[in-house]
Symmetry: C2
Subunit: 341 residues, 2 copies
DNA sequence: CTGAAAGCGCTTACAG
DNA sequence: CTGAAAGCGCTTACAG
């Protein structure tokens, strides 16, 4: 099929017996152009459904108005709410967004960065893939175009980082458990110390310390990839202890849900015998029974904020690279799994 | 900060005392160029971290290698699995993907189409937003660049459409309920006849008819926006009937989960008293208790397939526009909510 | 095997 | 108020 090409400035100019420059200016509402000319041009442009070729103008002006986004997994619910925020803010600011999945694969992540550069994106937003060992490729990027990181970040990369108050959020969750009378609180975290897992663990430790509760290695469990089935397994481990915990804090909702499933199976009363708190406020937390207390992470706001800072850096380039951390506040949502013991 | 610009062909040419043409050819592995020259060029390019400016080359060749994707809601789980498939297949085929949300807003959808055109995407993938009244804007697009629709489609748009076997899937679900001994099967569908809702309803009707079961308007419920809370409400309505149904088929998982929640609340035994079947196989369907029987929609495959056809049309332009429907098979997943009565 | 030159569609400093 | 011309970075038909 002979796809109709978009009409160009040149063709409009010819039809109007004007120069390309004049047509271009008329369309951009340049003050130099007379009203009658503007009208004439704009009318014809409309009639022919003229759409400027952004590739040409972007190419000319060294600006593409495209932002690149790299996330580990697009179908992770929390990630998708961040993306929502990113899309919304970007579109409202006149930017378009190219999204890529790194699939938690470091090599893939580097490739993505590379192609994003090739496409001449104006800036990059990214969440680190799990187990990113080498940040060399990222450091190279940082020197070339603005980069803003979110969620999974690294303090070693000099750029703006938008994160939640991980440590404090965990602290509040543990304090809540203490307030409802719990004294022996287990934690399920990640083996490999990711930024997020470590911060949450720190919050856990601080809460226990500040409330003069003992820290017991036996109820500090770590797992490689934290998931529903791992949560279930860890719960079984905890149930088999001589001194069972009276609360379990899992650093992700899916693990917490696994915990609840295991407790339900063994008819352990939640929250009386063992309370459970998760992290994320994913949809599932209201589906499971009893409903899960969890930390609400405002993904939408994280996305919007990250875009805001990125565009700021694109439009006002700074002299030096600095690590700047923006913390987004979270809320603990108390549901049945930890409600008044 | 003085961001380092990418090095250009011109600069490479100058450094090597070669012409731009030669450098370009060497980099593209053109057979005309001698081995020593190629090596020399490629070595220097690598050293300077040369990345071709795809904007320039795309602009030159009228091809951007960017696909536009428009979906109603990115954080809908099923959608995100489709996007996963789209991203994967596109990237493997050398295309990048721009994603936009229409938010089920028709005006937004038209705007998105417009900007996608401006960005010179090579083709568009889209799922219709709910309640799209006018398809004029879409018909205009179809004449200009390849368009492939998926999931929420319209028979009125002449293009390739990738959908699941909606009617058959619903038929199979109902037949399964009949096979486990159910005779009075209710359905919860949408008021405004979306393509998907209508097809599923047709499957429901055909199954009842072919098994000589009566069709009773009282247990055919419709709701505006089908959601968990609406599912709950509809279940309450059904429970209040003199002649209760012995099974409920909800055309979405979220509604089905609402149904289960309501039944649990009234201590109705699932599936003995009332069996429940949903549609989508969302994560939630394994979290709810009892676990939900549901139709698995292979989102990943839908996404991959849609991209496959789109690229085919981009690379081999056809003379005429035809409506072509590709059906992806689904599987009924039987879980506790409808297991052996 | 290599180079000079045109051109993709647009913007903008310069000239009048 | 309008136009001619350069140039963004690349590819490619043409020439040698």
């Amino acid at each position: 099929m002979q796809k109709k090409r978009n009409i160009t400035l040149k063709e409009l100019a010819k039809a109007l017996e004007l120069s390309i420059s004049t047509v271009s200016r008329a369309l951009n509402n340049h003050p130099d152009i007379s009203e009658p000319t503007k009208e004439k041009v704009q009318k014809l442009a409309e009639k022919h459904n003229y759409v400027p070729n952004l590739f040409a103008s972007g190419f000319r002006s060294h600006r593409t108005h495209i932002l690149g986004v790299i996330v580990p997994n697009i179908s992770h619910y929390f990630t998708s709410t961040i993306l929502k925020g990113i899309l919304e803010k970007a579109e409202n600011s006149g930017y378009r967004v190219i999204i890529s999945e790194s699939k938690n694969d470091e090599k893939k992540q580097s490739e993505m960065l590379q192609t994003m550069m090739q496409f001449g994106v104006d800036g990059i937003l990214m969440a680190l893939s799990r187990r990113t060992k080498s940040i060399d490729d990222i450091l190279k990027i940082v020197n070339r175009i603005p980069l803003v990181m979110f969620d999974k970040v690294s303090g070693k990369i000099p750029c703006t980082q938008v994160v939640i108050n991980e440590e404090e959020a965990a602290y509040n969750a543990i304090e809540h458990l203490i307030n409802i009378g719990k004294r022996r609180i287990a934690i399920i975290k990640e083996t490999e110390g990711s930024f997020n897992s470590e911060k949450r663990f720190e919050g856990y430790l601080r809460a226990l310390r500040e409330h003069d509760l003992p820290i017991d290695e036996k109820i500090i469990l770590s797992t490689e990839d934290i998931s529903l089935s791992k949560g279930r397994m860890m719960a079984n481990v905890l149930l088999s202890l001589k001194k069972r915990p009276d609360a379990i804090f899992a650093i992700t909702d899916s693990a917490a849900i696994g915990v609840i499933k295991a407790l339900n199976k063994f008819k352990v009363n939640i929250p009386d015998e063992i309370a459970v708190v998760g992290f994320s406020n994913s949809v599932n937390s209201t589906i499971i029974s009893p409903s899960l207390s969890t930390v609400d992470q405002p993904g939408h706001q994280i996305g919007r904020t990250a875009v805001k800072y990125l565009i700021e850096e694109i439009e006002n380039p700074k002299e030096d690279l600095v690590t700047r951390t923006i913390e987004i506040k979270t809320n603990l949502i108390v549901r049945d799994s930890s409600f008044k013991v």
